[in-house]
């Protein structure tokens, strides 16, 4: 089913039932000798969402849920095994073939130590997309543009002469952002951009990303495992579990009244900084292997509300009873077995005020 956000104006990006499988079988000969079938890892298994222009969609989930694979599918680093990715009304494969379309999307990676070439000066790193797309012709103009980009991300134009190792993690992430912005993109895919940073630096980068979105009207797909970070930056949030979206809702709805038991468990698991003495009930068990996902709803082995239907039948992502703006893949919510929408104490602060 199509995401409701896809209706109306053309979204910046839309995925329709997109999936990506990886073949993790043993080598052919060994497989034949042992008479094993092929083994497929379903990293992403049918995900549909849309991102309206100028907004931020975040995908959250634990490691192995497929959120980074979605990021790579969306910028065309992996071709989808099934389904389609549509960039501004055009199929992604076509858009990728056209440089004037390709420059409109860029990616920011998690590790600012690995994503910058250590042998290049910062000005060359930032100028590479400008030169590759031929956006600015003469040398002086390139230099001026690099200086402007560095200023825009809070560095000095003089920093262009330096090498990446001369910068701290936060400054490097600013350089990555400047590089991503250099081709005047409209859509940025940010794969855990602050996970490798300290909290005080994380705040700087998040503020910078918000400012840039306002100034330049950017659209973000933001990938993170940190719910608190996601709350600060998102308009809408998708929660992923074992390669599927299990809940997709406006940020405020999701944090105030999370519906899917897994989303609730994630919120419960966040340590309590308010120190209300709230007793946390950690969700039991671990994320199962995506090579052998459980039957029916993938969360049923850990779910307190699971019943026979959950074990047998895979739930579809449909508007939730009580909070129809949220799409939830859960039989318990559909049947009303979850007791309807409940305000989540962890996410609204049981005791107000700091």
């Amino acid at each position: 089913m199509r995401d409701a956000a896809a209706l109306g104006a053309t979204p910046m990006l839309e995925t329709q039932d997109v999936a990506r499988y990886f073949d993790v079988s043993r080598p052919l000969l060994q497989r034949l000798i042992a008479r094993e079938p092929k083994r497929l890892l379903r990293a992403v298994d049918g995900v549909s969402f849309a991102i309206p222009k100028g907004t931020t969609l975040s995908l959250v989930g634990e490691s192995g849920c497929g959120k980074s694979t979605v990021a790579r599918l969306v910028v065309g680093l992996y071709p989808p095994s099934r389904g389609s990715v549509i960039f501004d009304g055009q199929d992604l494969a076509q858009a990728r073939a056209d440089a004037s379309q390709r420059r409109r999307m860029q990616m920011i990676f998690q590790d600012p130590y690995a994503s910058l070439n250590p042998r290049w000066r910062v000005r060359d790193i930032i100028a590479e997309p400008i030169r590759a797309f031929g956006l600015v012709k003469d040398k002086a103009a390139v230099e001026a543009r690099v200086g402007q980009l560095l200023t825009q991300v809070g560095l000095s134009p003089l920093d262009g002469q330096k090498f990446p190792h001369e910068f701290s993690g936060g400054q490097r992430q600013r350089i990555s952002i400047a590089r991503a912005l250099s081709s005047n993109p409209e859509f940025l895919v940010c794969d855990e951009p602050t996970s490798a940073l300290d909290v005080s630096v994380q705040a700087q980068i998040l503020n910078l990303m918000k400012d840039l979105q306002k100034q330049l009207g950017l659209t973000y797909l933001f990938i993170s495992h940190n719910l608190a970070v996601v709350r600060q930056i998102s308009d809408r949030v998708g929660v992923m579990y074992l390669g599927r979206l299990v809940e997709l809702a406006p940020a405020e709805t999701l944090f105030r009244t999370p519906r899917m038991p897994y989303t609730r468990a994630l919120m419960e698991a966040i340590p309590d900084l308010e120190m209300t003495g709230r007793q946390r009930i950690p969700v039991g068990g671990e994320v199962p292997s995506p090579i052998n996902p459980p039957s029916g709803c993938p969360f049923h082995p850990r779910c307190p509300l699971a019943n026979e239907r959950c074990r047998a039948e895979r739930p579809a992502l449909i508007p939730a009873r009580g909070t129809p703006e949220a799409l939830v893949a859960c039989h318990a919510v559909e049947e009303g077995r979850d007791g309807g929408p409940q305000v989540e104490p962890a996410a609204v602060g049981a005791v107000q005020g700091v």
Binding site: V199, A203, Q232, E286, A347, V348
Partner: protein, 343 residues
């Protein structure tokens, strides 16, 4: 905290790294106590020296790092100057260690049972058969299902969360009095993190084990620790009860650090941020190391290094709380110089 004799006393600890370009001071004048059964949280950003403090206590500083001054006393006995062999008998028996990455802590070539049995027979008067029985008990205690079968599994056969449980069993099985846990939950997913924290807390309470919990995650500290030490550039910036430090911090750095944590409870238009970055060890500013980033800096901060002094309910290394400077500080606040950036 309590009137009992502290289990661990660290006094004026100084750790240096001789390099070609001169000696770098990684830890400078670090002092704190841990009482029996108490959990001391040590927080700070990367490079603040929190892991270094843990490494110095368990005697595993990476060369060329060395303890250049101060003392570490465990249960009344000085342990910072012991020869390597003697320190080995203390590690494991008296101090258990838990590190961030469970895969590098466990030996991949031995079954987890063998590693547990070896640790226990080395440190406790047990026969291998008794030790094996106890090992199964420990695995059950840390929540490994079907422990009597899993005991003969190799570390790679466990998932990340289960592996960290094995590491916890390994650290606790010789019944040490102190656990040094360095980012024990950082490599784990949030839902597993909560399980592991709950387990550590419960076991420490049941066994009366004291713990030094090193982490950059303020949330983990708020849930687990009794007292907190906040480190900045190799020194303790603030130390006090966990409630006071988290809810009512005194040092401008702690205030900024707490303010920059994104809240889960509501959306903020802008997060509070500390300008700049922590200085490198080779370029620690004169006076208070935080002064170039501090919104409430005044003249004395740039010249003189503050020691920990009483500040509100905690102790902070900040001249704002020195009686002689109260007036000067008040003036600064009045003129609004850089004020309220940290709210």
């Amino acid at each position: 905290m309590s009137n009992t004799q502290p289990l661990l006393q660290v006094r004026n600890l100084r750790v240096e790294f001789p390099t070609r370009r001169g000696v770098l001071t990684a830890l400078d004048d670090v002092s704190f106590d841990i009482h029996p059964g108490e959990v001391l949280g040590v927080v700070g950003e990367s490079g603040a020296g929190k892991s270094m403090t843990g490494a110095a206590i368990i005697g595993l500083l990476e060369p060329p790092g060395r303890i250049a001054g101060g003392t570490i006393t465990l249960g009344g006995r000085r342990i910072d100057n012991l020869p390597y062999k003697e320190m080995r008998t203390i590690r494991g028996r008296q101090i258990g260690a838990i590190f961030q990455d469970p895969l590098t802590t466990l030996n991949p070539l031995y079954t987890v049972g063998r590693q547990l049995v070896e640790t226990m027979t080395t440190h406790l008067p047990l026969t291998p058969a008794e030790a094996r029985k106890k090992a199964i008990e420990w695995l059950e205690l840390v929540g490994i299902p079907a422990a009597s079968q899993r005991i003969d599994s190799y570390p790679h056969e466990f998932s990340g969360g289960m592996r960290q449980r094995v590491v916890i069993a390994l650290a606790l099985c010789a019944e040490p009095k102190l656990i040094v846990a360095d980012e024990p939950t950082t490599a784990l997913d949030v839902s597993i993190q909560a399980q592991v924290i709950a387990l550590l807390k419960r076991l420490a309470r049941e066994k009366g084990t004291a713990m030094m919990l090193v982490t950059h995650d303020m949330g983990v500290i708020a849930e687990t620790a009794d007292r907190v030490a906040v480190m900045y550039a190799g020194r303790i910036a603030e130390i006090g009860g966990v409630r006071d430090v988290v809810k009512n911090p005194s040092h401008p750095y702690t205030i900024g650090l707490m303010g920059s944590i994104p809240p889960i409870t509501h959306r903020m238009e802008r997060l509070l941020q500390i300008e700049g970055a922590m200085p490198r060890l080779s370029a620690i500013p004169k006076g208070c190391a935080y002064n170039p980033r501090c919104p409430r800096v005044f003249d004395r901060c740039r010249v003189e290094r503050p020691d920990l002094i009483p500040a509100g309910a905690t102790r902070a290394a900040c001249w704002l709380y020195d009686r002689a400077d109260k007036e000067a500080a008040h003036e600064v606040a009045q003129t609004g110089y850089g004020e309220v950036r940290h709210a």
